[in-house]
Symmetry: C2
DNA sequence: GTCTATAACTGGATAGAC
DNA sequence: GTCTATCCAGTTATAGAC
């Protein structure tokens, strides 16, 4: 393979395999075989299998986090006083949903991996915190401005529901396709986007702002 | 261990380990070691590691599904014309949340395992469908009566959000504890219950019944 | 039913030639 | 940087004694 960085090449295949089977379900040899790279080179580049896993997780996290912070800042500036729960959630999710809609297979694999990690006790609590907390705090800051009377514990729990709904939707298990007998397509990220924002925003309002539920911005 | 069924005993320890690390992260030897049972007996009782995993998953699914169907039927009878989205979701979730509140460690491990499976492409689509679809169809039947104008695709997507929010909440990764700096306790299933029902019900209404959002039952 | 022994194999990791 | 050869710990699974 001329002109290809073998390091990035390995990360791509490791990402896809880790997303399907989880780190324990993947062997270094299998990653190397798929990438048509010698198994010993995986250790040359990354040292250990665990380090390879961390490298996969880090690579896109940094790109994504930076963009999500920009997206929320831009929204807050743009909206000014007319800030809304829908707008905040939209700004938080947009960088993820846009990449999903665009269909880049690397990003789709990455999101499946995040979903798996998020729901696995062995890594979930620690890794998700380490990589994504700053972005979430920014979202909650904006939501506090929309709902000044919201209690922090309510905001945290509602974010937890958002996180679960989002990661399952990104995990692409084909679940909703089977459940609906083909009426829904788990790869249709446009359909997801249209429903997810109002669903989540309505939930936040109901729990965090029980009195003011009626006035939708 | 006198008077203990070694089969159930093995299932308990396998359940706990599978829930923590996923099937690939667990060895038959480790299950046997924890259960203080000879490794060869695992094969004697269950045949293969995969069969052990299926046995773990099946054992409680049957108990739980039967009770969830009863719970929803009882609610539909009791509520009659005054059926509500909140009530339907509550009836659907009650058998799960009650067991979580009661704190039986076996059930808590099982719920963590379901969360992990739900978000792993390797098994998620197939196993969740095979075990849980009848219960979900019953929920959607009741919701259709609450929201006659709801479209099926909307109901399926909203259920998907419910499923993601629920399984992440049951996965007990300690995520929300860290995120909230200790203000929330992921093991506090009462706190979960109080917020989850209104959050999910509001989301369903907003997406499936955009016109009638104002009149809460 | 239970345990010992072992077959047959695969895993991560490395030393060292090129 | 790349690849061959290999170490060795650990894997599922089973045969066969008790």
């Amino acid at each position: 393979m001329p002109g290809v960085d073998p390091r990035q090449h390995l990360l791509d295949y490791a990402e896809a395999l880790f997303a399907d089977h989880g780190p324990h379900g993947v062997t270094v040899r299998e990653v190397a075989r798929r990438a048509r790279v010698d198994p010993a080179l995986v250790h040359y580049y990354f040292g250990t299998k665990t380090a390879l896993f961390e490298a996969v997780f880090t690579r896109r996290a940094e790109v994504l986090n930076a963009e999500r912070l920009r997206s929320m800042d831009a929204y807050a500036r743009r909206a000014g006083e007319h800030i809304s729960v829908e707008g905040a959630v939209e700004a938080f999710l947009e960088p993820i949903l846009r990449r999903s809609v665009e269909g880049d297979p690397g990003w789709k694999n990455y999101f499946r991996l995040v979903a798996l990690v998020n729901n696995t006790p062995e890594w979930g609590g620690e890794m998700m915190t380490r990589y994504f907390d700053p972005v979430i705090r920014r979202l909650l800051d904006i939501l506090r401005r929309c709902m000044p009377e919201a209690r922090d514990v309510d905001l945290f729990w509602c974010y937890h529901f958002l996180s679960g709904a989002l990661t399952l939707s990104l995990s692409q298990t084909g679940r909703i396709d089977r459940l609906s007998g083909g009426a829904c397509d788990s790869a249709d990220m446009e359909a997801l986007h249209r429903r997810m924002i109002p669903f989540i925003a309505a939930g936040f309002r109901r729990v965090c702002q029980p009195q003011g539920e009626a006035h939708v911005a």
